[in-house]
Amino acid sequence: MLAVDMSGDSVKAKNGSMVAYDGQMAFKKMSGGGEGLRGMVTRRLTGEQMTVMEVRGQGTCYFADRASEINLVSLHGDKLYVEASNLLCTDAGLRTGTTFTGLRGGATGNGLFTTTVEGMGQAAIMSDGPAVILRVTPQYPLSVDPGAYIAHQGNLQQHFQAGVTFRTLIGEGGGEAFQIRFEGDGLVYVQPSERNTIGGDV
């Protein structure tokens, strides 16, 4: 559960994720995630949809969603890439948008696009079990199972890596046929659980 103290300022949160509050709060649905008409159209087109509400007021507001674990990410002008379904709450000062992720989405089943959060402030992301944060440096690239990936930040290039051989086709595969390889400089968030992915069983 995430508790947000507010004094007249506002946060953007996933629609319906408020579980309790004290003080004075006003909830307003933001059509199109507060990204204006252009953002709305992009989200509609890319399928990376999220319904967002703006919470403004005085006091403490509590957010939670399906008992999933909440991880706070501080952003200082850098960009966080996260799946829309894993984003719970952001400071109102943060800009959200959509971006193309490349081939990866095809195997994760999350679509080819992802949500970006940038600016200064904090964002709360959700994971099934507490997320492990892994640093990627040029010497140490990281490979992640698409089903366990939730978010990344920093200057990272991602490649889609497929180890599909004839063995996979005859049912003797290694079980880890698809991976996302991150190279560059940044942080990757993984959850200790795997979503069901198309690539998960081969």
């Binding site: 099934d128 507490p130 366990a148 003797e172 880890e176």
Partner: protein, 262 residues
Amino acid sequence: MSAPVIFDPMTLPSDDNVNAYTFCVELKGGEWFLQKGKMIAYYGRIEFNGIGHGRFERLLRTSFHSPLHASDWVVAQGSGKMLLADRAFDVNSYDLEDGNLTIRSGNLLAYQPTLALKQSIVPGFLTLIGTGKFVAASNGPVVFMEPPIRVDPQALVGWADCPSPCHHYDHGYMTGVLGGLRSLTGLGGTSGEEHQFEFVGAGTVLLQSTEMLMAEQATGAVPHEPGVPGGGAGVPGSGHAGQGAAPRLPGQLGDLQRRFGL
């Protein structure tokens, strides 16, 4: 909330838990057996190959004796650090020193090839024999108990050092027509705890703190041989009525008939 911990290949623990739900294995050119799809991320160069891979023939001969599970297991090989996790369940590693441990097949995540994996004669369980480390998942923390103990079938994770596992039925459940009727129909109320596993002898019993089972891994069918539990029909003509495909539970009509002397 404190600042989040950021791990890199230097700070990741070696063969230890990262947090309660994630385990880190360090590979230095060696091998580990792991269940398919439990790897969530890795640094370094690691290859994952199915058990059927020809190069592993020698390895398999010493440490994999469960052909029925072959399609669920892979061998990780190379050098680097890899993270294992399973559906956000608790994971823990255990060291065996020239010992043996039997575990529910769905709970075992990974093990070192210095251990030998064998299929237990109790259906759905696997036995590890030898010296080495293995990683197991459980829904909620694992509790260790000393026999003699009776445990709920759903809470049982495994046992070590040969206590003898057997079924135990509460007395009232077994006696009389009424008892049988009650368990058959549920009329009169049942507590749902009439059936337990009983362990006696020296050893340790591992329990998980929930009765929700992990999804059973397909364990295949045991060979159809006389004397193999769950292995189908017994010796024909041995007089065992109702020893067909499904084991006959007490309280079913067969027992009632016998009580009436039919």
